[in-house]
């Protein structure tokens, strides 16, 4: 049975993010993923508050990166939260957001090696409390926690490109695919299957999550309006092959990018087309959303993550998902 996750960006006050997470837990969501960007509230502080105010939902950064936070500190953070919520903590790790990291002068170097080494260091620390490692990017002379990590902490890898998807299938307990459209998820599965085969793993061992941009409302127009700013940013950051796959003109995407860079939000959002909304989000009425989720499940997705913006009104959107979406797939 498909699992449901929800993503929150801790831009908002800690108690609002926690309030929505409690609501999501009551609504039947299985996972909450908190984004990790230096300019928002700290992901582990947010997760700690969530851990203290929830009983069942699983939680983790979705996703952190090894460039800004050393893997040893990431292991320490998740292991500490796992003491509060044993067997409910997960770790999402990926190469990081180029735009945000570039603001700090941090370069994403050798992402495949960085992720593989990080996962090895983190796994060692969260299972044994110790690590000794000599890699190409990371070295750990002699790390030992003064506490015993509690519970199992599955490691999910955020992946989009072919090589990262393969690596994720080789070493991840789960994969967070940053995509909403069946074309992208379908393509991702080719690489995931290949990676799993090379590592002699069964696909069923890996929790494959579609980490989508999602917007739901009883009125389609309202759902689409809420998704438009998010889609504008996705389009502006998408590589050309991805745009071509969805038959979106490079010129149109560049026009949105230029408008966003100039801070002309209205102009940027007005250039977002229905095709772009369809390619980069799941937006619409409950019926539309059910149809789109079904397509992804048929491809093999085992976790569906409701990502930003969720809906024009987050509380109402979670209510709607709990009444119309989750029961459809779980009952």
């Amino acid at each position: 049975m498909v699992k449901f996750g929800i993503e929150f960006v801790p831009m908002d006050l800690y108690w609002r993010t926690t309030f929505y997470t409690i609501q999501a837990e009551k609504a039947g969501f299985d996972y909450v993923w908190i984004t990790d960007h230096f300019n928002n509230r700290n992901v582990y502080v947010t997760l700690t508050c969530i851990a203290l105010h929830t009983n069942r939902i699983k939680m983790g950064p979705g996703v952190t990166n090894p460039y800004l936070v050393n893997p040893v500190m990431t292991a320490q953070s998740v292991a500490s939260i796992s003491e509060i919520a044993p067997n409910r903590v997960t770790l999402g790790i990926g190469a990081g957001d180029k735009t945000t990291l570039s603001l700090l002068g941090v370069e994403i170097k050798s992402p495949l090696t960085a992720i593989r080494e990080s996962v090895e260091i983190i796994r060692s620390l969260i299972t044994t409390g110790k690590a000794k490692y000599s890699g190409k990017i990371f070295s750990v002379q002699k790390a030992k926690f003064n506490f015993k990590p509690k519970g199992k902490i599955p490691v999910y890898i955020g992946a989009q490109g072919p090589k990262m998807l393969e690596l994720a299938a080789k070493i991840g307990d789960g994969i967070l695919i940053n995509a909403s459209h069946p074309k992208d998820i379908g393509d991702a599965f080719q690489y995931i299957k290949s990676g799993a085969e090379k590592a002699n793993r069964k696909l069923e061992e890996i929790d494959v999550a579609a980490y989508t941009s999602f917007s739901i409302h009883e009125k389609e127009k309202k759902a689409i309006k809420a998704a438009t700013p998010v889609v504008a940013f996705i389009v502006s950051g998408s590589p050309e092959p991805v745009l071509e796959k969805h038959e979106i003109s490079i010129e149109d995407a560049m026009a949105i990018k230029k408008a966003l860079e100039a801070g002309n939000w209205g102009e940027a959002f007005s250039k977002v087309t229905p095709e772009m909304i369809d390619a980069f989000s799941i937006s619409g009425t409950p019926e539309t959303c059910i149809e789109r989720i079904n397509e992804l499940i048929k491809l093999g997705v085992s976790q569906f993550v409701v990502g930003s913006p969720i809906g024009p009104n987050v509380r109402e959107a979670i209510d709607l998902i709990s009444k119309e979406i989750i029961p459809h797939f779980k009952e």
Partner: protein, 88 residues
């Protein structure tokens, strides 16, 4: 607040969503003391926002950040007695 105890459960349930929306939509939410916010999270987690204590905290929180909206909501619900107690 004694007046809160006189509000029946049906009315509390009806008002709860409106009060929550005041907290979630307000542009002045940062005014809410973290101690009050933490208590509200505790009552919400344990389904006790309509209990005497939980409902009182919810009212106080909404009144702290959006006094006019909260007063209007309560007056429309015929709860002027609660409004007077909140103003004290």
């Amino acid at each position: 607040m004694e007046a809160v105890k006189k509000i029946n459960m049906e009315k509390r349930k009806n008002l709860m969503t409106s009060l929550i929306d005041i907290l979630l939509r307000s542009g002045s939410a940062a005014k809410l003391p973290s101690a009050t916010a933490n208590l509200i999270l505790h009552y919400w987690q344990h389904d006790k926002l309509t209990s005497d204590e939980g409902f009182q905290k919810l009212l106080e929180a909404a009144y702290t950040i959006e006094p006019e909206q909260t007063i209007e909501l309560l007056n429309n619900a015929g709860l002027s007695e609660v409004v007077e107690e909140l103003k004290k």
